[in-house]
C-alpha cells in the first residue's frame, strides 16, 4: 500500500486542492491542457515493440498534444493513427 503523503501528492497532481507546481510532485512532471486546465497523462506510443514517442493525453476531452519533433517521429510510422487510437482505448 502507498504512503498517504504520496497519495495526497497524486491527488494534488490530479487537480484536487488547487494548483500544484509540477516540481512539487516527485517523479512526475504533469503538463496542463491549456484549453481545459486538466492535467495531461503521458502516454508511450510503441511500434513493433519499439518506443516511438511519449505524448500528452487528456483522457477527459480525448485531446492529444505533440510537438513537431514528436510529429516527425510519428510520421515515420505507417499506422500512427491506429497506434494512437489503440492507446486512447486503454
Amino acid at each position: 500500500m502507498p504512503d498517504i503523503v504520496d497519495v495526497l501528492r497524486k491527488l494534488q497532481a490530479a487537480g484536487l486542492g488547487g494548483d500544484v507546481p509540477p516540481q512539487e510532485v516527485p517523479g512526475q512532471s504533469p503538463v496542463r491542457d491549456s484549453a481545459s486546465g486538466d492535467f495531461m497523462e503521458p502516454r508511450d506510443i510503441f511500434h513493433e515493440g519499439k518506443h516511438i514517442a511519449t505524448l500528452d493525453y487528456n483522457p477527459r476531452t480525448g485531446a492529444w498534444f505533440l510537438d513537431t519533433s514528436e510529429l516527425l517521429k510519428l510520421s515515420r510510422v505507417p499506422n500512427a493513427a491506429s497506434l494512437i487510437l489503440a492507446e486512447e482505448a486503454k
Binding site: D3, L8, G17, R60
Partner: protein
C-alpha cells in the same frame, strides 16, 4: 436517485457543466410547455437539478474522502502526540542489576542490531546499552511516565514471583498508519445513455401533480441540504491537501513514537494482568 446513474465509463465524455446546462434547458421547456410556467414545477425542476449536481460532487469525493479523513485524523493525532508522550526519561548505562531485574538484556555495547528493552526501539551495533532512569522527572499521566512505571513494576513483580528477570515481551506488530489504499480519482463524466436516463428521471418526477411536486420539493431540498453539508466538509478537507502533506511529513516521527509506545504499554499491562492473576 440520480447518483445511481452516475459512473465513469470509458465512453463517458459529457462533463457535469454540459449535463447541467442541457437538463436545465430541457426542464425550462417542460415547465413552460406542460404547465405554462408553474412556479411549483419550476421549483421542483430547480431542486432536482441541484440534486443531480450535488450527487455528482459527492460521488466525485467518494473515492478520496477517506484519504482526507485519515489525513485529518493523523494530523490531529500528531499535534497531540508530544503532549501525550510528555518528557522522555533520562537514561543511564545499564548495570548487572538491571540485567538481573529484566531492565536490560546485557551491559556494555550492543553487539548487533538489538532492541532497547524498555522502548523496543532498534539500536545499532556498538551503541552503549542504556536504561531509563527510574528517578527521571516525568509528567504524571503521560505515556512516558506510565511506560516507565509499568515497565519497572512488571520487572519487580516478575522477579518477586520467579526470582528471575522478566522475559522479553513479544515483538510489536504495528501497522503503519501512513499506509493507505490508493484511490483511483478522476472527475466523473457521463455517457449519452446516462444523460438520457437522468433526463427521463427528471421528466418522470415533473409529471407529478402539483401536490406531489410540492412534497418532492421539500424532501429533495432536505436531501440537498445534507449533501451540501457533506460536500462543503469534503471541499474544506480537499483545500487542506498541501497543509496535510507538510504536516504529515513533519509529524511522522512523533506519530510513530506514540503508536509504538502505546502498543508497548498495552503489552506490558497485559503481562502484568497475567502475573497478578
Amino acid at each position: 436517485m440520480a447518483s445511481e446513474k452516475i459512473n465513469n465509463s470509458i465512453n463517458a465524455n459529457i462533463g457535469i457543466d454540459q449535463l447541467k446546462k442541457d437538463i436545465t434547458e430541457f426542464a425550462n421547456e417542460v415547465v413552460f410547455t406542460s404547465s405554462g410556467g408553474s412556479t411549483v414545477m419550476k421549483s421542483a425542476a430547480n431542486v432536482l437539478i441541484k440534486n443531480i449536481e450535488l450527487n455528482h460532487l459527492s460521488d466525485n469525493f467518494s473515492t478520496v474522502e477517506k484519504i482526507f479523513e485519515r489525513s485529518q485524523d493523523l494530523v490531529i493525532r500528531g499535534k497531540q502526540a508530544q503532549e501525550k508522550l510528555g518528557p522522555s526519561p533520562s537514561r543511564r548505562a545499564a548495570t548487572a542489576d538491571d540485567v538481573a531485574r529484566g531492565y536490560a538484556y546485557s551491559v556494555g555495547n550492543h553487539s548487533g542490531n538489538g532492541l532497547d528493552l524498555l522502548w523496543q526501539v532498534p539500536y545499532s551495533a556498538g551503541s552503549p546499552i542504556e536504561v531509563a532512569d527510574k528517578n527521571s522527572t516525568l509528567r504524571p499521566g503521560s505515556i512516558n511516565q506510565q511506560l516507565l512505571e509499568r515497565f519497572l513494576y512488571r520487572g519487580e513483580l516478575y522477579f518477586s514471583l520467579y526470582n528471575a528477570p522478566a522475559p522479553e515481551l513479544e515483538a510489536l506488530s504495528i501497522q503503519d498508519p501512513y499506509q493507505v489504499d490508493d484511490p483511483q480519482y478522476a472527475e466523473k463524466m457521463y455517457t449519452t445513455e446516462q444523460k438520457l436516463e437522468i433526463t427521463s428521471w427528471l421528466l418522470d418526477n415533473l409529471k407529478n401533480s402539483e401536490e406531489d411536486l410540492a412534497t418532492l420539493v421539500f424532501s429533495t431540498a432536505e436531501s440537498n441540504i445534507a449533501l451540501e453539508r457533506k460536500n462543503t466538509r469534503n471541499k474544506l478537507l480537499e483545500g487542506k491537501i498541501g497543509y496535510y502533506i507538510t504536516q504529515l511529513l513533519e509529524l511522522k516521527k512523533v506519530i510513530n513514537e506514540l503508536d509504538h509506545k502505546e502498543a508497548y504499554l498495552a503489552l506490558i499491562n497485559n503481562h502484568i494482568k497475567e502475573l497478578e492473576a
